[in-house]
């Protein structure tokens, strides 16, 4: 096992990774920008190295600085968290070149998974269902028009190098097609530095259901069950839960089987998530996320598995100790993402200093956060402040605890607003309580109100 791990990330996920390293007796180094000098992860790590200014491009996204910090501190492995460099095959390659273990899939697998339009085809070849779509990226207006006739409407335009729900738009009629095409390319360029896009049929009224897998370097692949992440605002997940409620019979098992098959087919290694859209008994593979995901805690709560610990073990070359037979899932867990955004002002980000922050606690409540009273919420990074997760023997009890926990949450600061009240409303909404919602529900609701 590694002596020292460098965490190339920030915020709640950096702290969360440090905690598992602590549990395992691994020394931790965290890199940070000038804006994150006095943050929870920096305080918690054994060592911290300031690697750049606030701009992510010159700090968290700047491989030479991260690698230099690893060299300075003698780290043997780098955990990239999510976002930032976590799905960058060049960075994974550079780690290998520097004698560092990148905690994630091998660079060639990451490179293969980097073009989502190609991955669709790969998965289709091994039997995963996909919606009609372009087999690769489309570059010209002619290709777009031709594809739209072949695929049919509504369709969705997606960034090939994308992730995190960014760089996508739905097109419902031909008149908006070219405008959306150009706009999505621009958004993809801005978000990922890569404007290539592909098209696929849009499955309206579907649920987003994903499978967590673990694959080691010895050919073992297990799945940790599914997560339902259908409560989304503009494709950003807000509430996630496991198990997925009210799935048609057999769907959960089919999803798991597809994910394991797909993972083997690409030679996956590490923790990964296979995302699908589900409508009744209809399943469509969407994409693979080759990193730990924000919503991993709900899986941890029902399985008792520490996903980061598994990532470290896999990266250190150890075989999985978990087997599909011994893995059990117990009860239900639901997570709310609390963002510093103001729902009353179009979800505008609200940076500022927290004058007060009280995290919920109590039976079967977990809070992953980097917030503390006096912490500064800066404008340079995403607005995720805290994740509140509640477990219960069944969905209703988990929901009740999560409602209680949300009421305990205190966040105060000059100009600081959060999405907590909106989430509380969703938890109370009859359609959500009855698990009859889909990925469009929240956008329809918020469009109506705001």
């Amino acid at each position: 096992m590694f002596d020292t791990v460098l965490i190339a990330n920030r915020g709640e996920i950096a702290l969360r990774i440090i905690r598992t390293c602590r549990d395992m007796g691994i020394s931790t180094v965290v890199v940070h920008s000038t804006a994150d000098r006095d943050t929870a992860a920096v305080r918690a790590a054994d060592r911290a190295v300031q690697i750049g200014p606030a701009s992510a491009k010159r700090s968290y996204l700047y491989p030479p600085a991260v690698l230099e910090a690893a060299a300075q501190t003698g780290a043997q492995a780098v955990h990239p968290g999510y976002g930032f460099l976590s799905e960058d095959p060049d960075f994974a390659e550079m780690c290998a070149g520097s004698g560092l273990t990148f905690i994630g899939p091998p660079p060639r697998v990451m490179a293969q998974l980097g073009d989502k339009s190609v991955v669709r085809g790969l998965m289709a070849e091994v039997g995963l269902p996909v919606v009609p779509g372009t087999g690769s990226v489309v570059a010209t207006a002619e290709e777009v028009a031709e594809a739209s006739h072949r695929i049919g409407l509504p369709l969705i335009i997606k960034a090939a190098a994308g992730g995190g729900g960014l760089g996508m738009s739905v097109v419902s009629d031909q008149s908006g097609l070219l405008t959306s095409f150009r706009a999505t390319r621009a958004a993809a360029q801005a978000a990922f530095g890569d404007n290539r896009v592909y098209l696929e049929r849009y499955l309206s009224g579907a649920r987003h259901v994903e499978i967590q897998i673990l694959a080691d370097a010895h050919g073992n692949v297990v799945h940790l069950g599914e997560r339902d992440c259908s409560v989304q605002r503009r494709r950003q997940k807000l509430i996630e839960e496991t198990p997925a409620p009210r799935l048609a019979p057999g769907v959960a098992d089919r999803l798991a089987e597809y994910a394991v098959t797909g993972a083997r087919a690409v030679g996956y290694r590490g923790a990964g998530t296979f995302e699908f859209l589900v409508r009744g008994e209809q399943i469509a593979f969407i994409e693979i996320n080759s990193r730990i995901q924000v919503e991993h805690p709900v899986t941890e709560m029902v399985t008792g598995v520490d996903v980061v610990r598994e990532q470290l073990g896999i990266a250190a070359g150890e075989p999985l100790t978990l087997t599909q037979d011994t893995l059990t899932r117990n009860g239900a867990a639901i997570e709310c993402r609390i963002n510093t955004e103001d729902p009353a002002r179009g979800f505008a980000p609200c940076p500022g200093r927290l004058t007060d922050f009280v995290a919920p606690a109590g039976p079967f409540v977990r809070v992953d956060t980097h917030a503390f009273p006096g912490a500064v919420v800066g404008p340079d990074y995403d607005s995720l402040l805290a994740k509140i997760i509640a477990w219960g023997p069944d969905r209703d009890q988990a929901l009740a605890r999560l409602r209680r926990a949300l009421r305990e949450l205190r966040v105060a600061g000059q100009g600081i607003r959060t999405t907590a009240p909106l989430l509380a409303d969703v938890l109370d909404a009859p359609v959500f309580r009855a698990a009859r919602h889909d990925i469009e529900m929240l956008d329809h609701q918020t469009a109506a109100v705001h």
Binding site: T34, Q50, I51, P53, S59, A65, L67, A71
Partner: protein, 175 residues
């Protein structure tokens, strides 16, 4: 963390590594011995070893030279802020040169060569003062304006962070 006031040292309850704290206190004594007016407040941090000094509002005392007395290991003193000219304890019209990247600081072009600059040298804008090496690339560090070298805070071959103060300079007077 231990807070020292002009009235005396007030230790807090947390156990700290005796050698590290003793070293910090010795460095603090050195600082206090060279300044004419006592500071309003001194904060010693043990993890990542630093000394923060808050001066009283009236007559600004000269910047303490004791930053170089703070032990460089395990990590060098980190400058406050990434921009030049904002380092703690640097007062008056002095300004600093800070590391524009994380890497290893070298005072010479190569081992055995004379250092680029020494204390009391007068620099011209654009003059190379050091190298910070990162991932085998040698990055030239240059003075962005004219000045006289007052202090060199980092030893040759030491790892530095982004924004870490390397040189303290003062403006050269007009003749």
């Amino acid at each position: 963390m231990t807070t020292a006031t002009p009235n005396g040292i007030v230790p807090n309850a947390e156990p700290v590594s005796p050698p590290a704290m003793a070293t910090l206190c010795a460095a603090l004594e050195q600082v206090l011995s060279v300044v004419p007016t006592p500071p309003a407040q001194v904060v010693l941090r043990w993890g990542d070893a630093s000394i923060d000094v808050v001066w009283p509002a009236t007559p600004a005392p000269p910047a303490p030279p004791a930053a170089s007395a703070v032990p460089a290991a395990p990590a060098a003193v980190a400058a406050d802020g990434g921009a030049a000219g904002e380092a703690d304890g640097v007062t008056g019209d002095r300004f600093v040169l800070a590391a524009p990247l994380v890497g290893t600081f070298y005072r010479c072009q190569e081992p055995g060569a004379p250092p680029f600059v020494e204390i009391n040298d007068v620099l011209e804008p654009g003059q190379q003062v050091a190298i910070v090496e990162a991932m085998k690339l040698m990055n030239a560090i240059e003075a962005d304006r004219a000045g006289r070298v007052v202090d060199i805070l980092v030893a040759d071959g030491t790892a530095v962070e982004y924004g870490q103060t390397l040189f303290v300079l003062e403006p050269v007077g007009e003749d």
